[in-house]
Point group: C2
Chain length 320, copies 2
């Protein structure tokens, strides 16, 4: 592989520096190649590319022996030579990891066509597709996930009738279920119970997933897509103590009233109907229940939600 | 608000430059403040902060009249003074938009405590929480969304028996349903039919959502979380022409065999069971169907998936 590259770079050099090939011994030629492209050894500050199993090359600026000793122009020259080399070798992409305090190397890399794949906290990742056709590199996270929790229960009305009620909050725009955005790494059910507790003071337990909404291009999601999941929870406490920063009001409301309330969002009304239906005919009519299964990635597991299966079917596939 | 700030900055200045307040006229004092903090007018290169409705300040480096005329040290001094000012004014956060070719300003901003919120393609967004307690700023997208499509149908076996079959592909690791990652802005059903077509050559139509998996910390998702959704599709063609880059084999397999096949992933087996159950008792037992509803954000709509409601309940909440 490296031999092919040397031949290619030597012919490039013959064009750039005519007479070079005929002039000197082999070592002299190799030194000239190294000076121009970063050569076969490590680049400035000890930089080098690592080949991954997909045929991409990773360069980590964090491995620079001293970032200050490498100026952006030297880095650019090295990276330009390397990109030429990697393309000639059939590599499909470059991944450049840039610690935030080495961001002076971003513009030079961008001038060679690299673009941000993503950045988070104190590092960014840039990439350049070297293969043929449009890029086949995986994208970054495309969705935020919001989760709301509904705690259907029986609550006494003012007239001492016991009503099948749900816990709702009133915000500036409408009545809706308590909920909020998933924290990184948080399970759907945990987001639901955490948000319900934070916003209403009610403790609860996850029961099932009821509904999923997908929406794109949300202005409040930095243009990304949003998945909003409504869960059915079992309330474990009943005394409301709501968060005044997040709600104007919070109360137990009869679900039959909520299902037709104009002040409620369309999703809130629909989920109220789902719960009434479940209450009368059995929640198994509306629930997606959860099971935890081992993942292919060692040591990891995942949560899988689907309709409950009758025992016959459950047993059939349960070799997990 | 600005008056309060001037008083605060003047007392700061009195500490830094003793005698300043007594020494000169009002104008001289204001010029000194401006020199130190960027003052009340625009900063270097015309930079200025814009107040948003949440009490945050946005600075756009793209509005620099000429980025080259502002050196990173001058920018740092201006931003440091401004951050002091905004904190004193009770602003809760700074959002700094950085076009990729102005990335030389990232390190100076980072030295003042700003960190990446996210970056994409040719821009990054940095942020600093100025309010009390831990940051309450919204995060960025946390999940990638993968979608698989299952096309249950009747296929003739080699022995001329007609079997209830599903379309599966064989990869290096296991047998599974065709599928892949959602493109930005793509609906769940569209991802399913696109991926099935790309991988198997079969055209199909979205019917319902069957199952959702959530998994965290995936090495192949840059450490982010993954939602994997399996859909039920209706096949519109039957001749397989699979993509050799993505599958080793692709075939129609009897779902009863797939539900117990060791070579299939646990999810594949479970979904095969769901489909057998649906085939025998009605797909309404396993489906989450979709409806499109208008969003609060003007001009946008969303797709909502849940269990079908009997007509009585459907009508109740359908004022959407």
């Amino acid at each position: 592989m490296w031999r092919g590259l040397q031949v290619r770079e030597q012919s490039l050099l013959s064009l750039l520096l005519p007479g070079l090939r005929s002039r000197g011994p082999r070592l002299q030629c190799q030194a000239a190649i190294r000076a121009l492209t970063g050569g076969p050894g490590p680049g400035p500050g000890g930089l080098r590319g690592e080949l991954d199993r997909f045929g991409g090359i990773t360069v980590r600026l964090g491995q620079l022996r001293s970032a200050d000793s490498v100026d952006p122009a030297t880095f650019r020259t090295w990276l330009q030579g390397k990109c030429e080399q990697w393309r000639a070798e059939g590599r499909i992409a470059v991944w450049l990891h840039v610690p935030i305090f080495q961001s002076q190397f971003i513009s030079p890399a961008a001038s060679l066509g690299l673009r941000f794949h993503h950045a988070e906290s104190d590092a960014s990742l840039m990439t350049l597709w070297l293969g043929e056709g449009p890029s086949r590199l995986p994208g970054y996270a495309t969705h935020q996930v919001g989760v709301a929790g509904q705690c259907p229960s029986f609550a006494q009305s003012n007239n001492f009738f016991v009503l099948f009620s749900g816990l709702i909050i009133q915000t500036k725009n409408a009545w809706k279920f308590p909920g909020g955005l998933s924290e990184p790494g948080e399970d759907i059910g945990d987001t639901a119970t955490r948000e319900v507790l934070e916003e209403t003071g009610i403790t609860s337990e996850f029961q099932a997933l009821l509904s999923i909404r997908q929406q794109h291009g949300r202005p409040d999601a930095f243009g990304k897509s949003d998945l909003y999941i409504v869960c059915r929870l079992k309330p474990l406490s009943f005394r409301v103590s709501f968060c005044p920063h997040e709600c104007l009001r919070c109360e137990w409301m009869a679900l039959a009233a909520l299902a037709t309330a104009e002040e409620a969002t369309p999703i809130t009304r629909r989920v109220a109907s789902l719960l009434l239906y479940g209450h009368r005919e059995g929640f198994d009519k509306v629930d997606l229940t959860v099971r935890e299964l081992p993942a292919l990635h060692r040591g990891l597991s995942y949560k899988l939600y689907h309709r409950d299966l009758p025992e016959l079917y459950e047993k059939m596939s349960a070799m997990d």
